[in-house]
C-alpha cells in the first residue's frame, strides 16, 4: 500500500471548493510521508473541465470512474464504486472533503475495510511515528490528536477552511479511467432530485453587518433583546442552529455548515459558544465581536474582541450606547 488518494466532489460541472481544499490536504500529507498523491472523480459523463482542473495539479494520477448508476448520488453507489477503486489503487490514505455527502457514505466505506474514518480533520501534523490528525471534540472545547493504529488504509475527511486551496501545487497529471462494476440491485435507495423549500426572503450573505444569536439567549421571549440591537446597528439578525431548530427564528437565518456562509464587515455573536459547525459559516467575517458568559467558549478563538459576561446586561447597554452614538 502506498500513496494518498483524494476523493473529489463536483457540482455544476466544477470541482467543489471543499474538494480543492481536500486536495491541498492530500498533497500536504503525501509530502510529509514522501509518497504520491492521486485524485479520483466519480460520476456519469464527468465534465472535461473537472478532469482538466484536477490534472493541472501536482498529482501522480487522476482516476476517472464513470458509470451510469453514479449519475445521481446514492450511498450504496459510491460505497460499492469506491470499495473497488481503493482495492485497485491500494492507497495508504484516503482523503475526503468533509461534506454532507461524505458524511453519508464514507463511514460505511471505511467499515468495509475494517477501519474508522477520522472525520472533520482541521490540521495534519508531522508526528514521530507517522502523521497526526487533529480534530475537535466537545463542540470545539478541546482538540484531539488522532493517529491510525491498525493496518489497512486510513480514511480521513478534512473540515472546510482548514486547508488552503491556494496552497495547491500545480503540475500535470495523467487521467486514467478505472472501470467498476455496479448493478441496479446493489442500490437500495431511491433518491428524488434535490429541492429548495421556499423562496428565501432574506439574504444574509449580502448583509455587511450581522448580529447573530445562540443558545445563551435562553428563551424565545428574549429574542427581541437582540432584535433591538440588530435594528440599532441596521444589521440583519442571524442565529446558530439550535435557535432555528427551536423555531425561534426561521431556518433561513441560520449561519453555519447547515445554513448560510457569511463574511460580513462585522459579525456580532451573542450567546454563541462557537461549535465548529457554526464557525465554518462565519469565520470569513472581517471583524468578529463575541459576547458569551463562558470565557473558554470556542467563539473567542475566532473573535477580534470578546466580552466574557452576561449578555442580558451587556446587550441592552450596547443597544442604548449605539442609539446614543447615532444621535
Amino acid at each position: 500500500m502506498s500513496g494518498v488518494l483524494v476523493v473529489v466532489e463536483q457540482r455544476d460541472g466544477a470541482v467543489t471548493r471543499l474538494s480543492l481544499e481536500a486536495l491541498a490536504a492530500g498533497q500536504r500529507l503525501a509530502k510529509l510521508l514522501g509518497i504520491d498523491c492521486s485524485a479520483v472523480a466519480l460520476g456519469e459523463g464527468i465534465a472535461p473541465v473537472v478532469l482538466g482542473e484536477l490534472s493541472g495539479n501536482h498529482l501522480a494520477k487522476v482516476l476517472a470512474v464513470e458509470h451510469p448508476l453514479l449519475r445521481q448520488y446514492t450511498a450504496d453507489g459510491l460505497v460499492h464504486a469506491l470499495e473497488q477503486v481503493v482495492k485497485h489503487a491500494a492507497p495508504a490514505y484516503v482523503v475526503f472533503p468533509h461534506s454532507y455527502q461524505v458524511r453519508d457514505f464514507a463511514p460505511a466505506l471505511a467499515t468495509r475495510f475494517g477501519q474508522v474514518l477520522i472525520p472533520d480533520v482541521i490540521a495534519i501534523l508531522e508526528g514521530p511515528g507517522g502523521p497526526i490528525f487533529v480534530r475537535q471534540l466537545f463542540q470545539g472545547k478541546l482538540n484531539a490528536d488522532y493517529r491510525k493504529t491498525g493496518d489497512g488504509p486510513c480514511f480521513v475527511s478534512v473540515q472546510a477552511g482548514s486547508f488552503r486551496m491556494e496552497a495547491l501545487e500545480a503540475g500535470t497529471a495523467p487521467v486514467e479511467a478505472v472501470a467498476i462494476e455496479l448493478t441496479p440491485e446493489q442500490i437500495r435507495t431511491t433518491p428524488s432530485a434535490p429541492f429548495r423549500e421556499t423562496a428565501q426572503t432574506v439574504d444574509l450573505t449580502s448583509s455587511p453587518v450581522i448580529v447573530s444569536v445562540g443558545r445563551g439567549i435562553r428563551e424565545q421571549e428574549n429574542i427581541p433583546l437582540v432584535q433591538e440591537l440588530a435594528d440599532a446597528l441596521g444589521a440583519e439578525l442571524a442565529a446558530s442552529r439550535p435557535i432555528c431548530d427551536a423555531g425561534w427564528l426561521p431556518m433561513e437565518r441560520q449561519v453555519g455548515s447547515s445554513g448560510e456562509t457569511v463574511s460580513p464587515k462585522l459579525y456580532l455573536a451573542v450567546g454563541i459558544s462557537g461549535a465548529i459547525q457554526h464557525l465554518v459559516g462565519m469565520r470569513g467575517s472581517k471583524t468578529v465581536i463575541a459576547i458569551n458568559k463562558d470565557e473558554n467558549a470556542p467563539i473567542f478563538e475566532v473573535a477580534d474582541y470578546g466580552v466574557a459576561g452576561d449578555l442580558f446586561e451587556i446587550v441592552p447597554a450596547l443597544t442604548k450606547a449605539i442609539l446614543a452614538a447615532k444621535g
Binding site: P119, D120, L142, G150, S257, K265, V307
Partner: protein
C-alpha cells in the same frame, strides 16, 4: 413493528471539561450527563411515528431505546421510557473511551440483531466526540440501507392493502446550502436524525410514573478489541488562532468600548 432508537449519554452542554492527568481523555468524575441532543430528536421521531401508526389503526408498535455506557447511562434510558419508549436495553460498558466507533457500533449491532427491528433511528452525531458515524457504521454492519441528516420520516402504506404494516419509508433529508431531498427505501433501514425536524416533548408526571414499571434489560458488553483502528492520543485545549482583545468593565463601560471600536475601527457607525 419495532422501532429501535440508539441514544448516547454525553456531558451536559455547559460542563467545564477538564483534561485527565495523563492527557489521553477527560476527567469524567465531576461531570453531569444528559442525553445527546440529536438522539433526543431521534427518539422524538420514533415516538411520533408510533403515534401516527397507531392513529392509522396499527397496533403493537414498539419503541425500544438502547444505550451503551456505564451505570450512569441508566438515567438516560429512564428518561426515554418516561417520554414514551416501551422498553430499554442497557449495554453495560465502563470503558467506552477505549472503544472506537467500529467497536461501539459492533456492540449496538449485537443488541439490534437480537431484536430484528424494522427501523433503527439515532442522532446524526454526538455532542462529545462528534464523529458523526455510529449510525452509518451500524447500518453497514447490519447490511441494511441508511440515510443521514433526516428531518422527517413517512411510512409508505400499500395503497391496495392499508391494513398491512408498511414495508417502505420515504424520508426528507437535509443537503447543504438550504437544499433538501426525498429518499425512498425498503425496511429494515437505519436513519440518522438531524435536529430541528420535530419538536421535543417533555416527560409528563404520568410518563415518569409509568416508566418505573417498564422493562430495562441489562446486557454485558463484549470485551473491548485491542488495538483499536484509530485512537485519540492526546486531548488538549485548542490554541488561539486569533488574538482576542477581551473587553472588561461594567456593562456601560463595555458598551462604550464596543461603540468606540464600531466607530473608528470597524467603521459601521
Amino acid at each position: 413493528m419495532k422501532i429501535m432508537v440508539a441514544v448516547k449519554q454525553v456531558p451536559e452542554r455547559d460542563a467545564q471539561i477538564v483534561v485527565r492527568a495523563d492527557g489521553r481523555w477527560i476527567d469524567e468524575s465531576d461531570l453531569s450527563y444528559i442525553v445527546n441532543e440529536p438522539d433526543a430528536y431521534a427518539l422524538e421521531e420514533a415516538l411520533q411515528l408510533k403515534e401516527a401508526l397507531h392513529q392509522a389503526g396499527h397496533a403493537g408498535i414498539e419503541v425500544i431505546a438502547v444505550c451503551a455506557g456505564p451505570e450512569r447511562a441508566a438515567s438516560t434510558l429512564r428518561d426515554a421510557l418516561a417520554k414514551g419508549a416501551d422498553r430499554a436495553i442497557h449495554i453495560r460498558a465502563d470503558d467506552l473511551a477505549e472503544r472506537d466507533t467500529l467497536a461501539l457500533a459492533g456492540l449496538l449491532a449485537d443488541a439490534v440483531r437480537a431484536e430484528s427491528p424494522d427501523l433503527i433511528l439515532t442522532g446524526l452525531q454526538s455532542d462529545d466526540l462528534g464523529m458523526g458515524q455510529t449510525g452509518v457504521v451500524l447500518a453497514e454492519l447490519l447490511q441494511i440501507p441508511h440515510a443521514t441528516l433526516v428531518l422527517r420520516v413517512r411510512v409508505l402504506h400499500d395503497e391496495a392493502n392499508p391494513a398491512v404494516l408498511p414495508k417502505r419509508i420515504e424520508v426528507k433529508r437535509e443537503l447543504e446550502d438550504g437544499w433538501f431531498q426525498q429518499i425512498e427505501m425498503p425496511l429494515p433501514a437505519l436513519l440518522t436524525i438531524q435536529s430541528g425536524g420535530n419538536k421535543l416533548r417533555y416527560a409528563t408526571l404520568m410518563g415518569i410514573k409509568k416508566a418505573k414499571s417498564k422493562e430495562t434489560r441489562i446486557i454485558a458488553a463484549a470485551a473491548a478489541i485491542v488495538p483499536t483502528t484509530i485512537a485519540p492520543e492526546r486531548v488538549y485545549l485548542p490554541e488561539k488562532q486569533k488574538h482576542t482583545e477581551m473587553l472588561k468593565g461594567t456593562a456601560a463601560e463595555i458598551a462604550a468600548q464596543i461603540v468606540d471600536k464600531l466607530k473608528f475601527e470597524v467603521r459601521v457607525l
